[in-house]
Symmetry: C2
Subunit: 397 residues, 2 copies
Amino acid sequence: MGKVFKERTSVDEALRLFLEHISTLRKVEEVTLESCKGRVLAEPVVSERNVPHYRRAAMDGYAVRASDTLGASPANPVMLQLSDQIEEGSTIWVHTGAAVPEGADAVVMVEDTATAGNLVEVRAQVYPNRNIGQVGEDIKKGDRVFEEGHLLRPCDAAVLASIGFNRVKVFKKPLVAVIPTGDELVSCKDNRDVPPPGKVLETNGLMSALYVEKWGGVPRCTEIVPDNPDSIKKAVETNLDADMILLLGGTSVGKRDHAPEVVSTLGELLVHGIGVSPGKPTALGIVNNVPVVCLPGYPVAGLIALYLFVHPGIRKLAAIPELPELILKRRLVAKISSKIGYVGFVRVVFEGDKVRPLVGAGAGILSSVAKADGYVLVPEHIEGYEEGEEVDVFLIE
Amino acid sequence: MGKVFKERTSVDEALRLFLEHISTLRKVEEVTLESCKGRVLAEPVVSERNVPHYRRAAMDGYAVRASDTLGASPANPVMLQLSDQIEEGSTIWVHTGAAVPEGADAVVMVEDTATAGNLVEVRAQVYPNRNIGQVGEDIKKGDRVFEEGHLLRPCDAAVLASIGFNRVKVFKKPLVAVIPTGDELVSCKDNRDVPPPGKVLETNGLMSALYVEKWGGVPRCTEIVPDNPDSIKKAVETNLDADMILLLGGTSVGKRDHAPEVVSTLGELLVHGIGVSPGKPTALGIVNNVPVVCLPGYPVAGLIALYLFVHPGIRKLAAIPELPELILKRRLVAKISSKIGYVGFVRVVFEGDKVRPLVGAGAGILSSVAKADGYVLVPEHIEGYEEGEEVDVFLIE
């Protein structure tokens, strides 16, 4: 009954250990360009064609032999003959994007011309290749257009389409099993009534599943598992086909906290007890090469474990490239206190161009997150921030 | 043939005019909590229940009458009798989250106790309400939990579930008709071969549709419409059931550029010719209260019109709240030149902790966007930035 955390690992060290044990999946699937957005390329893309594949007029105007326009100016125009083929002294109308006729090596833009019957008055001299998009100017046959690991954006889909792709090979999304545990839980699926005292609606499963989805995984939620080691063990074992397992609840050191023990029985418990507040009871482990995160049942603590460990874990599994972190700098309208030795997760709301910390909101108060716009992470070695200090604010996503 | 842009509107003024003509849709639909992520609440949410709905133990430990623990300390413990109901001198074991038994007004954490048979040795004094989560501590019955217009995040879904919701009313996503126009276009759907010279694969439709989707709209792509005013007119008319129409191509001042004229015939052309480079031929209008964006056919110019006008337009239609802009500050490794009078859209790639502008990439070179990590917008009144200057970089999404 008097169990306590044997150790406390820093957030950075816990994350390092966890990621060290995670291998990128590299399972491949083909998707259509319509559904490739946000996916990660599983192969480099090399173009098998030129874009454009013909010499293309870059302007509406007249295709000419550049040498025919030598010296042309408004005061001293050159007259060319409209024709259906290009030879000395002749010209053909082209619109933007049209193929430049053979024999022509430049396009005079329409604004520099006037027409009179079959004659075109050219009022500006053009050099060879002027207003012509060369074959392969955008993409050359053989060009390596994208590297493996590239995160596909809508504009990239258009590039792929332009070189003749309609499907593309991407890494499969990791399957993440979400297993809520706890005798006190009742499913919120079919329960619209207030449960009896001592029973609570299970909501961490939904929250975890939606974050998994947002971060590029495929969640698979299981039934609620009761608080006993055998049931939890069985639940983990039957979900070892997943690429990551989230065990929700039962991570502390109480009588009914079996999750970390089950992980250590079935595989390797890497960390139990992390220097973050709330979130201390988080545990991380590996069973059969499947990373397992034991998330505290208290919803705010669970949320922090999602942000700090599940998100980077999914990113590594799925080979999702890191983008530069976009950080919002804001001044505090009130001081923040934080416990030395723990990274403090402080919820804040925007107030004009500053932020206000939400105080008195414990790990169980999920509505404090719903009210918050963002959060500040106070490093473990400092006691907090003063009113007026500028802090890094992360948006609650 | 000698048509030119009659005017050039600044980006800010064009956007202001455009948004002024757009009304938020406020069409409502119900979605499940599983699919509410990223949606905008169409009604305020008021809780009809307390969370927690019972007095909940915040710790594993012993429920007591606080007055029974008066003066208790390790040196001077108080002995209480394990029981099944609380009266003077008795105690009941409770685990975290359990209902606190009637009569008890505090919980002594297990770490401050020891047991011997039916006796519990209490080594710390507790005050009333200690380690008890009160009824409604998280959310009180009648609390306004979310305002209308709130953008729902996964943690918010959990809050909604905790107060008994399983569906929620959100604003409908705007339907955006995407209409590619151009005689030179061939669909990339069933065309895996290189088209004949003068013909190009239509890829702006795919790009636009994927951005619309990303930004919270529902794209509806039409067939390719030929370059004649009647066909374009008909295409616009048959898509007036949409909430926004994108006309792709035919926006310039050439012989085959009919899109802006069609808009002005059917409704009101607000702007044609915008001070941004590339992107100048962009036109904005309103037909039957439906906002219409005419996007240049050149893919990079089209992309800019998507970023600058379509995205804010969808946001206003859908009532998607503005988040604080997250801006990346980076120094340039090379100078940027830009035309006075035009906002310059300069693609950049990351190079260590700096950015390098991609040079020589015209409006037709979509691969320059594919190669880019981000872009810099050079304001219209300045000629560019020097090497080493710090600039705001937007990620290409």
